[in-house]
Symmetry: C2
Subunit: 319 residues, 2 copies
């Protein structure tokens, strides 16, 4: 039971966050011209777990990343970027027979549809090193990406089991999208089964709609709670968020004053919330600090922005 | 038996070339800086069968392309480019569950190693439409790409069978590269088995070395002939080429005077050779015209250059 006025009790361990899942290249077109003979694309670092880890590090806590890249130049680039950000890359695996996963996005005036090139990312293995890193952490985090394909799915299931046995806080981003799942597989059903095994989920309204169809926010909260999540953070875009622990529901207004780019706003929230939880703030304040970090990120373009330490943001937003 | 002084007897049909195999995006870095935060890449049209078809069209013969793209924006771009080049895209399939195949090349001062993202390309199906197009053609061409993975491999095997039954000329580019084959599969052995089923092969010395180990050119010719190819065109880079029909071996000096870029030189040869064969030139002259088209291409940068008609190149090189 997560009481809004209490801090989250976390185990004592060397490392704070253990971020498991996808690491990938985002290849994004420079312009909107779909049919030019030679379109220009820019290569970016991608993958929500790593983005959260890099944010968390800036905010002042320790995070490691357990992901898989190919044994190729793009994989080396990703690892180099993590190292540059001061993240321990000892848990990044190289999957020899697979290319580093990539998402190609061609900007379009209508709907820019991502094209997924999945390779190494879902070949994350459950190794003794990974288990050791996990056991030395307080919080484990993952999203739907690694769950969408085997063998990464099996790895996450083992991670959940080990995390529970060792009293880690288990957090899940239920960012379900049918495009990531193989044809004919019931991804929704599987994701629902995972919700029951975790402590905290943070769906957006779109995530919730993809999982449960169009409902009211209150109904979404109920559904996640009924499935077994213990704290549900439902984000509502410009309308802020509603958070429920099953007995109490708290509304948070958005703290955003300017919105330059929404990319990475959810990851910024997670990192702020985690940093505050690690630093011992009560849940209500940790949530507010998460939303403050998200509001700070929204002022800038890009998934990763240059965040100050958590205390600076706390003062900036009067929290 | 291919007599160098005779023309190749081709069946009468509506279409000249039936090009089967890969169509893909080449994503090539703009610069050599591997570790920049955001590298710039350019998207190019790729796939040797299409390049040969586009060249052949410029030289004055008719070609169709049987390939598979994803149902995505990159696939639409490829089809659009084929249409722009005046190629009938009626045999281009859209593989619904797979992304358009891509090769990412990051330029490097050491060795630029391509990263393969194979999706739709090897899901080329043998359909009634494809068979109809094949039966309406004189020459069928394919390379190792579609052979490296099922189900495209099965499609090519059926294409070979149908082509033989209908007296098409069967030409094969044995551009074997282990990176295209799945781990543990004996690609060399399989490629050798295909050489026995075709009429003409055009290996480069590198291709031959990857297949048979380091040997002399004469030994390579023997080996391809022994495996069953009827005409073997072994290209030797700046040293020209040697061609054997099993009883006679003819040497061709290079016609290249300037070399701006070797990309697509082999495809340029094929298109010139095919155009000349279709137009009824004797084999010796058809080969010379192929090398002339290749020499013309070498003067310009890019896989596809603006070729004049075959007769213009013939006069240009005094053939």
């Amino acid at each position: 039971m997560f009481n809004f006025d209490h801090r989250i009790e976390l185990r004592n361990s060397v490392n704070d966050l253990f971020m498991a899942g996808e690491i990938l290249i985002d290849m994004i077109s420079a312009d909107y011209n779909d049919n030019s003979t030679s379109g220009t694309y820019h290569r970016f670092f991608g993958g929500s777990p790593s983005n959260i880890a890099m944010n968390a590090k800036k905010l002042g806590i320790r995070a490691v990343v357990a992901s898989a890249t190919g044994e190729d130049g793009l994989g080396s680039y990703l690892i180099h970027e993590l190292e540059n950000a001061g993240i321990d890359t000892g848990y990044v695996q190289r999957a020899a027979d697979y290319s580093t996963s990539m998402v190609v996005v061609t900007k379009s005036r209508s709907t820019p549809i991502p094209i997924f090139y999945r390779g190494a990312d879902y070949h994350l293995s459950y190794t003794p090193e990974l288990e050791e890193g996990l056991k030395n952490s307080k919080i484990v985090h993952f999203s739907c990406w690694p769950l969408s394909r085997r063998p990464a799915r099996d790895t996450i299931e083992k991670i959940i089991a080990t995390a529970k046995m060792n009293n880690l806080l288990v957090c899940f981003d239920p960012n379900y999208h049918p495009m990531l799942w193989e044809d004919g597989e019931d991804g929704v059903r599987y994701v629902k089964s995972i919700i029951g095994k975790v402590d905290i989920v943070k769906p957006s309204e779109d995530d919730a709609e993809r999982l449960f169809g169009k409902q009211t926010p209150e109904r979404y909260l109920e559904t996640f709670l009924k499935l077994g999540a213990k704290l549900v953070i439902l984000t509502l875009g410009k309308d802020g968020a509603v958070v429920s622990n099953g007995t109490e529901t708290v509304r948070f207004d958005t703290l955003a004053t300017e919105v330059a780019d929404t990319t990475g706003a959810g990851d910024a929230f997670w990192s702020g919330f985690y940093a505050a939880a690690i630093k011992g703030y009560p849940i209500r304040q940790a949530l507010a600090l998460g939303f403050a970090v998200s509001a700070y990120k929204l002022k800038y373009t890009g998934a990763i922005v240059d965040l100050p330490r958590l205390e600076v943001i706390k003062n900036m937003y009067g929290l």
